[in-house]
């Protein structure tokens, strides 16, 4: 072979690209399946999350009904349980003890984690109960709300105003809650 040949070689066999293509398309197909599953789960969940919220102030008599909405909104996970328990006890007290009470619903306060709306029950000029609805869809926001809002509520009931300090670690929730609360209180006058 001392003398170099100069022929151009003819390509004989196709490159290994068909194998690579098949492999990647299989992987893509599997990925699409995973995504579709995720999407499916998300849509199934979404139905319980997007609950519409009653508008403005409702007249007297509607106590337990309205409060019940709180529970429905928070149906996911642990938060849901908290919500249901909370509304269960309070609505029981409200409907039993305070006949002729009025509810006022505050303005809807939104930020990037969702919106929050507060409804107060007023009997004989006193705030006897505070309920809320939330559109927060993610677990973290819901758990922050579940932690902070009972504290805010008891402070509000004690102070009978929105002038209470916000809960640390839940600044956004506190702001939304107290602002909506203030607008509900404003409607009392």
């Amino acid at each position: 072979m001392t003398d170099p040949a100069t022929t151009t070689p003819t390509p004989l066999i196709p490159k290994g690209t068909t194998m690579t293509t098949r492999r990647n398309s299989a992987a893509l197909l599997a990925s699409a399946g995973i995504l579709a599953t995720g999407w499916g789960i998300g849509t199934a969940h979404g139905k319980t999350l997007t609950t519409t919220v009653p508008a403005a102030a409702t007249s007297s008599g509607t106590t337990a009904g309205t409060t019940g909405t709180t529970g429905t909104t928070g149906t996911t996970g642990t938060t849901g349980t908290t919500g249901t328990t909370g509304s269960g006890t309070t609505s029981g007290t409200a409907s039993g003890a305070t006949a002729g009470a009025t509810t006022y619903t505050g303005t809807r306060q939104s930020d990037r984690w969702g919106s929050l709306q507060v409804t107060i029950t007023v009997a004989s000029g006193k705030i006897t109960n505070v309920t809320y609805t939330t559109t927060a869809g993610d677990g973290k926001s819901l758990s922050i709300e579940a932690r902070a809002i009972p504290t805010l509520k008891s402070e509000v009931l004690a102070a009978q105003s929105a002038q209470v300090s916000s809960v640390s670690g839940a600044t956004y929730t506190s702001t939304k809650y107290l602002t909506s609360l203030q607008s509900a209180i404003d409607q009392m006058a």
Partner: protein, 476 residues
């Protein structure tokens, strides 16, 4: 002597009628190749699935509803890019963790190439994550992105850590993209990667505290934690624990250092239970010679002979500052090892015939592979290439092995002809001219990067299927 061709056996290609009954060796290599392809399928599937799952977690959390508003859609894109970039980051780490199944399937050099490619995607993904989220939050909250940023900066320390992480990722990513990695001294490269680990750690808290997706009590949180733990576990197992065990078990010491040619040395090492190390001709290992001057630098070198139960040998050219000092190694020096790694071995064979092409110090692994790989007499060809005759390292050993095993040897010496891989005296020659049956053989190529690229181009022109081409990048 500028060019010469030494033929030790009858020229092959005239002997085996192709297409007829396959030899046991051919069957074995085809089965081995099929198994490797299947492993590759599974690994590809696993990688894609991880990325898809990260996005699916977001969709399962009702993420699609965010697309109802412009701000929500921008936020959603920000979340998705963050998820994908993080999944890619874990894949990148696993790719460089020297996991045996990945090494035996992709080979460490391809895994590293893939690591670098994913790295680009990851850095852009992270930057997009930050930018889209600022824009999305701003749109949703009807404030400026700057106000959003200030807001988050003041409300969360985890966000500050995340910003630091992003900054570090950007610096690392851009510096490794702009400059070619191998140009860095090892210490700089090491510092860059240390920064990456710091960035990963700094990015962790915000993923769990700020994203609602991974809130406490969610399945997604469990998955995400498992992903990080698995990545860390794999890295710890194969990059820290396995090398320590190998070093302690085999107790390697330098036994002899012999000059080879003008500027290279062969280093022989002895140790215990070397069969358990699983090294074969063509493998490379990370070597750490435990002297005060060399202990901090691991060197990747290929074996230059098939290992025995008690000995290993490497042949090293004095290239970098570190490998220059290797000539002064004293017998008795303790050596720490990681490995063996690479697919430049018998384990990547797919056909019964084989062609080995080595240039310069790249001849060392070719010589070891020639010794260890199986072929019938006449079914192998070896092509050695050098600019000058004194760069034909280990030529005598290769010649002896070729004669003993029945391989054809071609020696091509002289400056390169243009941008081809052959010397000027062979200008215009192709692989098929030297080895007519090359398209039906496994082709192993090892040598300087530019030269190797030329060989691989020619291999493609000669119609050698990609699965039959095996190259080891020797750019260290």
């Amino acid at each position: 002597m500028t060019t010469s061709t030494l033929t030790h056996s009858t020229p092959a290609g005239v002997r085996r009628p192709s297409g007829t009954g396959m030899s046991p060796l051919g069957e074995r290599y085809r089965a081995q190749s099929a198994r490797r392809e299947r492993r590759h399928d599974w690994l590809t599937l696993a990688g894609w699935s991880l990325v898809a799952t990260s996005v699916a977690l977001f969709l399962a959390d009702g993420g699609i509803t965010r697309f109802a508003t412009v701000g929500g859609a921008v936020t959603a894109i920000g979340i998705i890019t963050g998820l994908v970039a993080t999944a890619l980051m874990c894949l990148m780490l696993v790719l460089t963790a020297r996991v045996p199944v990945i090494d035996r399937t992709l080979g460490q050099d391809r895994a590293t190439t893939l690591h670098a490619q994913l790295g680009r995607g990851m850095v852009f993904g992270m930057l997009a994550h930050g930018a889209f989220l600022m824009a999305g939050y701003a749109l949703e909250g009807r404030i400026t992105p700057v106000a959003t940023f200030v807001d988050l900066w003041q409300s969360s320390t985890d966000f500050i850590w995340a910003c630091l992480a992003l900054l570090m990722f950007a610096v690392v990513g851009i510096s490794s993209m702009v400059a070619v990695r191998r140009r860095y001294p090892y210490e700089v490269w090491f510092a860059i990667h240390l920064t990456t680990y710091a960035a990963i750690v700094a990015s962790l808290p915000h993923q769990f505290s700020m994203s609602g997706l991974f809130a406490e009590g969610t399945l997604a949180r469990g998955f995400w934690i498992a992903m990080f733990l698995a990545t860390a576990g794999v890295m710890l197992a194969y990059r820290v624990i396995a090398p320590i065990i190998a070093t302690a078990t085999h107790r390697l010491t330098v036994s002899r250092v012999t000059p080879v040619g003008r500027d290279a040395v062969s280093i022989e090492l002895t140790g215990r239970h070397l069969d358990a190390l699983g090294a074969r001709g063509g493998h490379w290992l990370q070597w750490r010679f435990l002297t005060p001057a060399l202990a901090l630098q691991p060197h990747p070198f290929s074996l230059s002979a098939d290992p025995t139960e008690t000995t290993l040998r490497i042949t090293v050219r004095n290239l970098g500052a570190g490998s220059g000092r290797l000539a002064t190694l004293r017998p008795g020096t303790r050596v720490a090892v990681e490995g063996p790694y690479g697919m430049f071995t018998d384990a990547s064979r797919t056909r019964e015939r084989v062609v080995l092409v080595g240039a310069g110090i790249g001849i060392a692994p070719v010589r070891a592979l020639l010794e260890s790989t199986g072929f019938a007499p006449g079914d192998a060809a070896v092509i050695l290439r050098a600019s000058t005759p004194d760069e034909l390292y280990l030529l005598d050993e290769v010649r002896t092995l070729c004669a003993a095993k029945g391989a054809t040897l071609h020696v091509l010496v002289g400056p390169r002809a243009g941008d081809t891989w052959v010397p000027r005296s062979y200008a215009g020659a192709h692989l098929t001219d030297l080895v007519p049956w090359v398209a039906d053989a496994d082709l192993y190529v090892c040598g300087p990067e530019v030269w190797m690229d030329a060989v691989l181009r020619n291999a493609e022109e000669c119609g050698i299927p990609a699965v039959q081409i095996h190259d080891e990048r020797f750019a260290w």
